[in-house]
C-alpha cells in the first residue's frame, strides 16, 4: 500500500521539464551491462558467431562518433548486419515518421549501455523473421522463420528453425530448408504445415523462383520419427502451384494450413490481389501434389491491396477451447485474417464459411477485412502473424512478429532487429460475439518470480510510484473500478458533452489530457522524475447514446529522449459489458510492452527505447488523470525471469527432452 504522502498532484509532476536537454550517460554508469541476465549469451555468440563478431566490430567502429570516417573500413564491419536489418525495420505503418526533436535535443548518441538494455529477456528473437508454420510434433513446438544465412543482402531467404517444450524456452536448430532449387532460388518464403490423419506432416511453402515468380512448393520431413524434424525433403514434382491466369507473378504467396471439406478433400487459400482488390484464392487437393482451383474466391475486399499471410480458422461459439482447422458446424464461426502489404496491419473479421463453394462472408460488412474500421489483432506494432492449432493442449495459438520503431542506424549499432511477441491463445469472445480474445499463453506464468499485491484508491490527478523494485521485466494484472457516484453524475448530467465521440487514442493528446473519467492506468518504464514514461491506460467517457464508452491506449510519445525513434499513441475502443470491471494485463520486457485490455479484447504491442528509465532506474507508476473521478485499482505485479534461448547441441536437445 502506498502511503498518503505519496499522493502527489499530477500537475506538480507535469511541471517537470519534459524537454530538458538530455545528458549522455557515461557507459555503464547506471548499471554494469555484464550483469545482464542472459547466461547463454556466450553460447549464442558461438552459434551465430559470424554475425555477433561482425556486430561487435560495428559497435566499436561507430561508437565513438569522432573517429575517422573511412567508409571502406567500416563497410567491412557493418555489411554482415544486413542479414538482421534487411526488411525488418518495418517503419512504413507509421505513415508520418515524425522526429521528436523540437530543437532542444542535442545530437543524440546511443551508448552501448542503453542499447544492450534494449535486448529482451523472455521474448524469442530469431535472426530475421516473417512467420512460417509453427506446429506441435512429438512433444516439441517447432518454429520456422525466415532467415538470410549469407548475411550480405536481403534475399536468398531460407528457413531458420527452433524448438521448444513450452513456447517460452527455445533451442535453435540447424536450417530446415535452403534455397537450392530453381523454384526457390530467390527465397524459401513463408509456408504452413498440415497434419494428415496418420499424424504425418506436409508443408506447403512459397518459393521465389530463379526469375522471381512466386510459386507454391511441397516439402515433408525426411524422417517422421525424428521429433526435432531436422531434415526436410522437397517434393520432386515442385512447384505444385504457379500463379493462375490473371494473377501477377509476384502476387501469389503464403499458403495456409489445409482444412477438410465435407467431400473429404483438402482445401487451402492463398492471398493475392487484382488491381487494388485484396483477394484470397482457394484450391482443393487430395494429395497436395495436384490442385483444382475454385472459380470462387474465399473473400475479396476492394482497395485493400495485396493480402499477405492470409489465415483462416474456426472458432467456437460455445466452448473456450481452440479448434482444429478442419472443424465446422453450427456452433462455429470462421475468422479470415490478412496482413496488409500496404499498411503493415493484421486485420481480421468474424464471419460464416460456406463449405460447398469455399466462400466466406463477414458478419458485419462495415468492418470487413482490411478496411480502416476493421478489427485488428493488435493496435500497436504487430505484423505477419499466423495461428496454429496446438493439439497438445487443445488451443489455437497466435504468434506475431514485432518490428522496430527506431532508426536503422540504431539497429546497426545495437546489432539486432525485431523479435516475436509472446505467443497468444486466441478464442472467440462468447460474451460479445464480435471480437476475439487474445491472452499470453499460460506458460509465460512459469517465468513469474516474486509478486506484490496492491489495492489502492487513486484520487483525481494523482500519480504514485509503485514499489516493485526494478521494473524492466514485469507481468502486471490489474482491475480498475471508477467511483460509482462519479459515473452516475456524468451520465445524469445532460450538460456533460459526449466526449467519447471526439476521442481517439491517436488524436487526443495521449495520457496527459484530463477529462471527467480518465485517463487512468500505469506508466511503465518510467524514470523517477517521469521525464521518460510509457503510459498504458483506459479512457472512459460518455457517448452520444449516454452510455459509457471505453478506450484502451498506449502513449509512447514520452517514452524516450532519443530523437531517432517513432513514438506513436496506439489504441482503440474496447468493449466493456454491463457489470464488468475494467481489467488490463501488461507484459514489460525491456524494449517491448504488450498490453491486453479487458481480458484480451483489445491488444497493443509497443516498442520503446528509453535512455534514462533503464536498468535500476526503470520504475512503475500508477496514475489517474481524471478531473473528477476516484479510481480503485487492485493489481498484482510479478518480477519476470529470463527465458533461455540456447544454441543447438545434442546435449542441449537431450537435456530438454528430459524435462
Amino acid at each position: 500500500m502506498a502511503s498518503s504522502d505519496a499522493l502527489l498532484p499530477i500537475l506538480a509532476r507535469e511541471e517537470e521539464p519534459l524537454s530538458s536537454s538530455y545528458t549522455q550517460l557515461p557507459d555503464g554508469s547506471r548499471s554494469d551491462p555484464s550483469l545482464r541476465r542472459r547466461p547463454f549469451k556466450g553460447l549464442l555468440a558461438v552459434s551465430f558467431g559470424l554475425l555477433f563478431i561482425a556486430f561487435y566490430g560495428a559497435l566499436i567502429a561507430t561508437h565513438d562518433g569522432s573517429r575517422s570516417n573511412h567508409l571502406k573500413t567500416d563497410e567491412k564491419a557493418t555489411t554482415p548486419s544486413r542479414a538482421r536489418l534487411a526488411g525488418v525495420s518495418e517503419k512504413s505503418n507509421e505513415r508520418f515518421w515524425k522526429l521528436s526533436g523540437d530543437g532542444s535535443t542535442t545530437a543524440f548518441a546511443w551508448n552501448n549501455s542503453m542499447l544492450s538494455w534494449q535486448r529482451t529477456a523472455f521474448h524469442f528473437q530469431p535472426e530475421q523473421n516473417w512467420m512460417n508454420g509453427p506446429l506441435f510434433y512429438k512433444g516439441w513446438y517447432h518454429f520456422f522463420y525466415q532467415y538470410n544465412p549469407n548475411a550480405a543482402v536481403w534475399g536468398d531467404i531460407v528457413w531458420g528453425h527452433a524448438v521448444s517444450k513450452d513456447l517460452i524456452h527455445w533451442v535453435h536448430l540447424p536450417l530446415a530448408m535452403v534455397a537450392d532449387q530453381w523454384y526457390d532460388a530467390n527465397g524459401v518464403w513463408t509456408g504452413s504445415a498440415t497434419f494428415l490423419p496418420d499424424g504425418s506432416i506436409v508443408m506447403l511453402y512459397t518459393g521465389s523462383t530463379d526469375t522471381s515468380v512466386q510459386v507454391q512448393n511441397l516439402a515433408y520431413p525426411e524422417d517422421p520419427n525424428d521429433p526435432l524434424l531436422l531434415k526436410w525433403t522437397k517434393f520432386s514434382g515442385n512447384p505444385v502451384l504457379v500463379p493462375p491466369p490473371g494473377i501477377l507473378p509476384k502476387d501469389f504467396r503464403d499458403p495456409t494450413t489445409a482444412w477438410k471439406t465435407s467431400s473429404g478433400k483438402w482445401r487451402i487459400t492463398i492471398g493475392s490481389k487484382i488491381n487494388r482488390t485484396g483477394i484470397s484464392l482457394v484450391y482443393d487437393t487430395t494429395d497436395f501434389k495436384t490442385y483444382e482451383k475454385l472459380d470462387t474466391l474465399l473473400h475479396r475486399v476492394p482497395n485493400t491491396g495485396m493480402w499477405e499471410c492470409v489465415d483462416f480458422y474456426p472458432v467456437s461459439k460455445t466452448v473456450v477451447n481452440g479448434l482444429d482447422t478442419s472443424v465446422n458446424g453450427p456452433d462455429v464461426k470462421h475468422i479470415v485474417k490478412a496482413s496488409m502489404d500496404d499498411t503493415r496491419i493484421d486485420h481480421y473479421a468474424i464471419g460464416t464459411y460456406f463449405d460447398s463453394n469455399g466462400t466466406w462472408i463477414p458478419d458485419d460488412p462495415t468492418i470487413d477485412v482490411g478496411i480502416s474500421t476493421s478489427l485488428r489483432y493488435d493496435y500497436g506494432k504487430f505484423y505477419a502473424s499466423k495461428t496454429f492449432y496446438d493439439q497438445n493442449k487443445g488451443r489455437r495459438i497466435l504468434w506475431g512478429w514485432i518490428g522496430e520503431s527506431d532508426s536503422e542506424a540504431a539497429d546497426v549499432q545495437k546489432g539486432w532487429s525485431s523479435l516475436q511477441g509472446i505467443p497468444r491463445t486466441v478464442v472467440l469472445d462468447t460474451n460479445t460475439g464480435k471480437n476475439l480474445i487474445q491472452l499470453p499463453v499460460e506458460e509465460i506464468k512459469s517465468l513469474r518470480l516474486s509478486s506484490k499485491q496492491f489495492d489502492i484508491e487513486v484520487g483525481p490527478g494523482t500519480i504514485l510510484p509503485i514499489d516493485v523494485g526494478t521494473a524492466a521485466q514485469l507481468d502486471i494484472e490489474a482491475e480498475f473500478e471508477i467511483n460509482k457516484e462519479s459515473i452516475d453524475k456524468i451520465l445524469r448530467d445532460a450538460s456533460v458533452v459526449a466526449e467519447a465521440e471526439e476521442f481517439s487514442c491517436q488524436n487526443s493528446r495521449g495520457s496527459t489530457i484530463r477529462d471527467a473519467l480518465g485517463p487512468f492506468g500505469f506508466s511503465v518504464l518510467a524514470d523517477e522524475n517521469l521525464s521518460e514514461q510509457t503510459p498504458v491506460y483506459f479512457y472512459v467517457a460518455k457517448g452520444k447514446d449516454s452510455k459509457l464508452k471505453t478506450f484502451f491506449c498506449t502513449d509512447t510519445t514520452r517514452s524516450s529522449f532519443a530523437n531517432d525513434v517513432v513514438k506513436p499513441i496506439y489504441g482503440s475502443v474496447v468493449p466493456v459489458l454491463k457489470g464488468e470491471k475494467l481489467t488490463m494485463r501488461i507484459l514489460v520486457d525491456h524494449s517491448i510492452v504488450e498490453a491486453f485490455g479487458q481480458g484480451g479484447r483489445t491488444c497493443i504491442t509497443s516498442r520503446v527505447y528509453p535512455t534514462k528509465a533503464i536498468y535500476g532506474a526503470a520504475k512503475l507508476f500508477l496514475f489517474n488523470n481524471a478531473k473528477d473521478a476516484t479510481v480503485t485499482a487492485s493489481f498484482k505485479v510479478w518480477q519476470m525471469n529470463s527465458a533461455f534461448i540456447h544454441p543447438y547441441s545434442e546435449e542441449v536437445a537431450r537435456a530438454l527432452s528430459r524435462t
Binding site: G65, L71, L85, G101, K250
Partner: protein, 142 residues
Amino acid sequence: MIDRTCKETPDFNLCVSLLNSDPRGSSADTSGLALILVDKIKVLAIKTLNEINGLHKIRPELKHALGECSRKYKTILQADVPEAIEALTKGVPKFAEDGVIDAGVEASACEEGFKGKSPLTSLTKSMQKISSVTRAIVRMLL
C-alpha cells in the same frame, strides 16, 4: 511515363528533373524509375559524407554532431540503399519502402543534432525530398 509517374509524387519538378537526368529514365518502368531514384539517394549520401568529412577539419566545435551525422549517412549507404535495391530487384517493394523512408529519417536526425545551427541544412532538405518522392513511387509498386 516519367511525367505520369511524377504527378503522383509530392514534388513533381524534382522528380522529373532527377529522372530526366538519367539515361535510363526514358525507357524505365515504375520499378526502374524507383531504382534510379535510389541511386540518387546514394549519390547524395556520398556527397553529404564528403561534406561532413570536410567540416570535421574546419569546424572542430561541431565534432560530436558531425560524428553522429557521419554514422547516419553511412547507414544510408550501407543499409538503406542496398536494402532498397535488393528489394526492388526481387520484387518485394515493402522492403524498399523501409530503406527509402529510413534515408529521410537518418538525414532529419542528423540535422537535429546541430540545434538549429546546421551547416548541412540544404543537403538534409534534398535528402528528405528525394526520400519522399522515391517513397511515393515505391508505394505504386505495392
